[in-house]
């Protein structure tokens, strides 16, 4: 096993995650089990200020800290806002436009307009003579003088990073390596990226975009992280800063920039990692995570306590990043999604959103359109008093007036019914989107529990679970800091993909076994180099297969690294039948990829102190902070409101109830049973799996 990170393993660990709006921190003392939390506004210009601010708020003494794990959106924001470092491309003659042409698509099926900005502009994409064919044979030698000229030209144009991306370099990287050597002679820094190095797979557009993204965020990430490390060491911190990757693992600050593209999407991945960890401890290993924020909702799947990972994530239209990442899907609506009545006289929710600014009406920041959050406010699910801030007039009345005018009047229904309808339609659509995600990943949502987090997740979770036929909802102790928690519970992880692409009956199965072994060895070596304390090494083996002639792949998990060919065939056919209810004895199977993950499991954190035991009251009744009228499907209920931190350990209660806490509001519908486990998770058992649609409201329109 690896040696511990510091001579004093009894210190504290910090997980700090920068989100769009807030920077969250969890500090955990491994000896006293004391947990400190902090939430401060994200500092957009330099995220380090927010990070340091959070540490200050948590009263962290950096000299006492063992390890800091950091999730940052530096690279995500840079890509989405195209605030990238100037990057040049040297590529095969005839192919400089690959990054701009994409795969001939359009942003949406209907509507013949749209825009696309390539990651590197055309004037910084230069061609050199060279050519390798699909078999890896060089059919035109590399023009070395051309390479030198091109590199100089890009340097003169002010490029900081360089991409060398040649056709078929995955089959034979000689030309890319040679060109990189030549560029190194004049390039003033180490930001020289070869296409095959990050992703050795065919598909020139996807590989090219992946490496171009990597190159154009590399300097940004390096500068950011090194400045942060410097600041922290000034304050006495002596350890390394580990940075979260999108695969749910983490990597040392010294190495992170080299594969910077892997940090894009790391924020959502952290949340899923925390969910998997929490679920495993709670004995709920199959989860659908449901993270609803202000502008969007993210969904991911966890099977056997392991998040689903994909190598084919597209972070926005025509922006693929093909490295293994936790498969988090954005399914649209957030609390800020706008409701409207369309010209058919039907209520719609989304796709437009009031976003964070101006946001819902109830935020009092100038929002004028009815949103999901506003509907929650009207129906008593959110506490109207909290939104009655000084200086603003009566928000509740404003929200009610807008709902009346924009929704209730056109629909000729009561205002509150309109608000209920907004939630019902939003939930129906979100449930549909979650179903599509689960089906596309080959599972039935009813076999999973719903793990609800994010500011608005726990507010909608019971309704969604009911809609989806999901029997249980898990709301973690601190839903609002799930991503930060993910930082401190994340494992060390290295993923390997080897492409075989051969009919199964022609595969040399011994060679497959040897490949698995080689990957295990390499992964273990990388983990030991990281020098972080782990308690256990885990290995995951899987293969991607298809029937010959198909293009889609089906992943088959393996119990060992030594399957026989007959095992593979049988496991694949079983998986295929489970997924599609189709038996295809007529057709042979192809073995496409073999996947290995080496995971260094870190010491188990004790989650039971996430909610301070000292705050707990003796009875549920004593934790009650309020009673208010809340609207459910069958009408208004006088509903008790509890303060989460005051609820006794292992409480149990029946809905209707509302549980409020600093970072979220959890809604428990009439008849649902909520209990609390040792780690402070609320487990809600859904009373009825399917119900009739809410009773017809207010009759027909006139």
């Amino acid at each position: 096993m690896s040696s511990p990170a510091s001579s004093d393993p009894s210190g504290q660990v910090i997980g700090v995650d920068v989100g769009g709006t807030f920077t969250d921190l969890v500090m955990f003392d491994q000896v006293t089990k004391k947990v400190s939390l902090a939430k401060v506004p994200t500092t957009v210009e330099n995220q380090a200020f927010g990070v340091l601010g959070a540490m200050e708020e948590a009263n962290a003494d950096l000299r006492e800290i063992d390890l800091i794990v950091h999730g940052t959106t530096t690279t995500t924001n840079a890509v989405l806002e195209r605030k990238l470092c100037k990057t040049g491309l040297i590529t095969t003659a005839g192919f400089r436009d690959i990054l701009e042409l994409g795969r001939r698509t359009r942003p949406q099926p209907y509507g013949m307009s749209g825009e696309f900005t390539p990651i590197i502009p055309r004037n910084l994409r230069l061609e050199v003579d060279e050519r390798t064919d699909a078999a890896g044979k060089i059919i035109k030698p590399l023009d070395e003088a051309d390479v030198k000229k091109a590199a100089q030209k890009l340097l003169d144009a002010g490029c900081e990073s360089l991409v060398i991306h040649f056709l078929h370099a995955y089959a034979n990287p000689d030309h890319e390596r040679r060109a990189a050597k030549i560029a190194e002679e004049i390039w003033p820094n180490s930001y020289i990226n070869m296409g095959h190095a990050l992703l050795s797979e065919s598909r020139e557009f996807e590989r090219g975009v992946t490496v171009a993204i990597n190159a154009s965020v590399q300097p940004l990430l390096e500068r950011y992280i090194s400045r942060l490390v410097e600041e922290l060491s000034h304050k006495g911190y002596g350890g390394d800063v580990l940075v979260m990757n999108g695969n749910g693992g983490m990597v040392s600050s010294a190495l992170v920039a080299r594969e910077a593209a892997k940090t894009v999407m790391s924020g959502p991945a952290s949340g899923v990692i925390a969910a998997a960890f929490t679920g495993r401890k709670a004995g709920m290993e199959n989860l659908i995570t449901y993270d609803m924020g202000g502008t969007s909702t993210d969904v991911a799947l966890i099977r056997n306590a392991r998040p689903s990972v994909s190598n084919e994530i597209e972070i926005e239209y025509a922006m693929p990043i093909h490295v293994p990442m936790v498969d988090v899907r954005t399914v649209g609506a957030g609390g800020g999604s706008i409701a409207s009545v369309n010209s058919a006289g039907l209520l719609e929710v989304g796709p437009h959103s009031a976003g964070a600014k101006p946001g819902p009406i109830c935020y009092g920041s100038g929002g004028e359109q009815p949103t999901i959050s506003d509907a929650n406010l009207l129906l008593g699910r959110l506490d109207a008093d909290k939104f009655r801030t000084a200086g603003s007039s009566d928000n509740f009345a404003r929200v009610r007036d807008v709902f009346q005018e924009k929704l209730a009047d056109p629909l000729t229904i009561d205002t509150m019914k309109a608000a209920a309808a907004v939630l019902q339609i939003a939930n129906t659509k979100m449930a549909g989107a979650i179903r599509m995600v689960s089906i596309s990943l080959g599972v039935d949502p009813r076999d999973f529990a719903l793990f609800a987090f994010g500011g608005a997740g726990p507010l909608h979770a019971t309704a969604l679970a009911r809609e989806l036929g999901i029997p249980k909802v898990l709301v973690p102790a601190r839903p609002g800091i799930t991503n930060a928690l993910g930082c401190i519970v994340a494992d060390l992880r290295h993923d390997f993909v080897n492409t075989i692409n051969m009919p199964l009956d022609l595969v040399d199965i011994d060679a497959v076994h040897a490949l698995f072994d080689a990957c295990v060895e390499e992964g273990e070596r990388l983990i030991s180099d990281e020098n972080i304390e782990i308690i256990k090494l885990n290995h995951l083996f899987s293969v991607d297969m298809q029937f010959i002639g198909q293009t889609h792949l089906l992943r088959v998990e393996l119990a060992s690294s030594k399957p026989s060919a007959a095992d593979l065939r049988q496991l694949f056919e079983e998986a295929y039948f489970n997924r599609f209810h189709v038996e295809l004895n007529e057709i042979r199977a192809n073995l496409v990829n073999i996947n290995t993950s080496v995971i260094g499991e870190r010491s188990q954190l004790d989650l039971s102190t996430l909610i301070d035991p000292a705050e707990r009251k003796a009875t549920v009744e004593q934790a009650r902070s309020d009673t208010r009228k809340v609207y459910f499907d069958d009408g208004w209920h006088r509903t008790p409101v509890y303060w989460r931190d005051h609820l006794p350990a292992n409480f149990s209660l029946e809905g209707p109830a509302i549980i409020e806490q600093m970072d979220t509001t959890t809604l428990i519908e009439p008849g649902d049973q909520a209990t609390c486990d040792d780690d402070g998770n609320i487990i809600i058992s859904i009373a009825k799996i399917t119900g009739p649609v809410a009773e017809a409201v207010s009759g027909a329109p006139t």
Binding site: G94, F95, I98, E100, L101, G102, R103, R104, T105, R106, P109, Y110, G111, M112, S113, G114, E115, F116, P121, R122, N123, R131, A134, S202, R203, V341, N342, S343, A344, G345, L346, L347, D409, P410, T412, I413, K417, Q424, I425, T428, G432, M436, I439, S440, F547, G549, Q550, T551, H552, R579, F580, H581, V582, E586, I587, V693, A696, G699, A700, T702
Partner: protein
Amino acid sequence: MSGKNNKSSVDLDPITLSVIQAGLQQVCDEMDLSFSRAAFSPVIAEANDRSDGIYSAEDGSLIAQGAGGLPVFVGTMQYSTRSLIERIRNGDTPAPMPDDIYIVNDPYLGGTHLMDVRFARPFYRNGEIFCWLSNTGHWPDTGGSVPGGFSASATSVEQEGLRLPPVRLFKQGKLDEEIYAIICSNIRVADQRIGDVKAQAAALMVGEKRLNEILDRYGDDTVSEAIVELRRRAAIQMRSCISQIADGTYHSLAYVDSDGVVNEPLEIRLAITKTADRLRFDFFGSSPPCKGPMNSVLATTLSSVYLAMRHIFPQVPISAGAFEPLEIIRPEGTFLDARYPRPVSGCAAEVSQRIAEAVFAALVVPLPDLVTAAPAGTSGNFALGGYDPDRSRDFVMYQLSGGGYGGNADHDGLTNGCSTIGISKAPPVEIMEQAFPVLYHRYALREGSGGAGKQRGGFGLDYELELRRGNATASFVMDHGRFGPQGALGGRDGQPNTVVISQSGKTCIPEHLSKEQDIPLKPGDRVRVQTPGGGGYGDPLTRDPQRVLEDVLLDRYTVEQALNLFAVVIDQKSMRVDDQETADKRAD
């Protein structure tokens, strides 16, 4: 607009309606997903050349259809289902039993081309047919004179492949092995088709299961009433969209290069008349039926108009109600209403896009903010079939390509977008070179191809490939070779499609420009294709000179083109806009 004027005939509240609408949509989307994920044909699995939907028991009219279906199928299956229902009523086709699935690909019975194979399954509730579930999948081959079915020179449908009337391929859930054997004996690469057949049938079963759940939950009567009411409301929604258009008649003209056999352009003449809240589409005066395969069957013609309207008003859900306010006069006597035995293999991929272009060209005038100038509008089908001696086997390769989209009120046109009627990705060069004995010399943005305009058209694609070994024949079914995609509101046309073939060092251009069949190639011979740029939108002289300069700095246009197309004078030394000279030039 509010719903205040919506008189409802039934006592259904709008919320239940919305929820049922979302539920029916979900059923179709799940069928689409299931079909694609299980399919073998890459055309279905990767290119999503398939569609799934729910159709009424009475007349097959469209109740709901998957959002991710290929756009060209937006209206076709309601016609194929309708013709099936009529045939059953007339006794021409045997009546169904539960769990039967009909297969049909006859273009004249509400179809497209032969390769689009439709399955239809009656959906029973309490012993009665409640509705039909149907899907279409593009099979890689259905026999005929050329692999893949896109003959550029067929003169009758028999040359295009096997034509199936509606027959029950599945009888009470069991595959009829005898019918299947007949099909397999008549198509190429038959051994993998069983996978697609099972995937296509399984998708309908997924739909049946989910639809039963919805009916169980909300009640059959409620759902029936909702279907009627949703149809009524979709019509209202389309009417309200139409009412933005000023009353009047809008004319347009679009050309198909040739029919592949007779080298003369085919004309699509369209007059769209807006009165009150209806649109009437009249193709009177369009060319008569043609000898080659560029005829369109009625269902495809209608569907092409619908898909164009959906591109303009994407917010209106796909439903028979949305089509109600669109009155399309049957274009009898023209090539847009082909009857047996006219060949039709070009209708789904090419003619449909010209029809959509005619709709865009007519409606961009009254709807300048919603409609774009003409997009490239061709699927760019280049097929190379031959023998690869290194692998000792025959091969058939397809290169489909994109082109520039039209400029529009908000943006320049998109570069290398997918065809108007498709949504599929083109395959990567590396994958093509792995699979086939070809070497690409270029896969690039086609400089200068975007039509000039205030917002210019997007750029087409410029690719060139070489046959490396063995022998092969090249075939093309493309379009817009004679005239480029039309500019709008003063914008110029995009550059037309070009095909150049080099055989033993000598170059030639196909006689029909964009269509040719079986051109023999030897190793070292090359094919170069340049796809159309999109039409420009608005007067090019009103384009911001700085944006013209930006395109020049990116080598998208030359300095000369900036001057000739946009009247922008760029100083070659400083590479800056000469404001004074530009102003003078533009004032002329």
